[in-house]
């Protein structure tokens, strides 16, 4: 069964460093998303992406964040200058159509020290 994959599973970085989190969505899906979950808290929406552009972003997704679909399979989230409060589990998700099921990857645990 097709699934969303994410790499790396765990990333440790120092404050101020740039990180890129990678995702491979399900191949025939058209909508892509990033969410994050700070330990013990709710899963929070960051950004949605469709047709090679951001369709919506949350207040969390400030200028430090960017997303890209560099080729036909990868979808990346970049954090330019990480902060301690960026430590969280980051989930990528994809859906075939708008308003359809969103399938999540296993997550990347980002630890900023």
């Amino acid at each position: 069964e097709p699934e969303v994959t994410q790499t790396p599973s765990h990333q440790v970085t120092q404050m101020g460093q740039e990180v890129i989190l990678r995702c491979v969505p399900i191949s025939n899906h058209l909508y892509f998303y990033w969410y994050r979950q700070i330990l013990g808290q709710k899963v929070e929406f960051l950004v949605s992406f469709y047709n090679n552009e951001i369709s919506e972003k949350s207040e969390i997704f400030d200028d430090q964040f960017s997303v890209e679909r560099p080729d036909g399979s990868n979808f990346t989230l970049k954090i330019r200058s990480t902060k301690l409060e960026d430590s969280a589990m980051y989930f990528c998700a994809s859906s075939w159509k708008r308003d359809y099921e969103q399938y999540f990857g296993p997550g990347t645990r980002l630890t900023v020290t």
């Binding site: 998303y33 709710k42 899963v43 929070e44 308003d99 359809y100 969103q102 399938y103 999540f104 997550g107």
Partner: protein, 112 residues
Amino acid sequence: SQQGEEDPQALSIQEGENATMNCSYKTSINNLQWYRQNSGRGLVHLILIRSNEREKHSGRLRVTLDTSKKSSSLLITASRAADTASYFCATVPQGGNNRLAFGKGNQVVVIP
């Protein structure tokens, strides 16, 4: 912003029993989705119910939606130890964006 909000409860049940958890939300929705998360791992999609549906089944799962009360319930029948997990509801608002708004989750422990 609207939120899916589960009843803040932790369930501990014996294997074979049924588990029910509830979710309420504040504004009109397009659909509501239930997810399972095993400790520290990814979110597994369980079921999606649309605003014009009242009940949906998938295997041992039964989801109901009451849009007049802005609430949903997830029933797991004949629970198994492998059902031990956190369960989240997430809503997609009506008219516009496609972001999922998650609740805090219900911890379910099934005792063998």
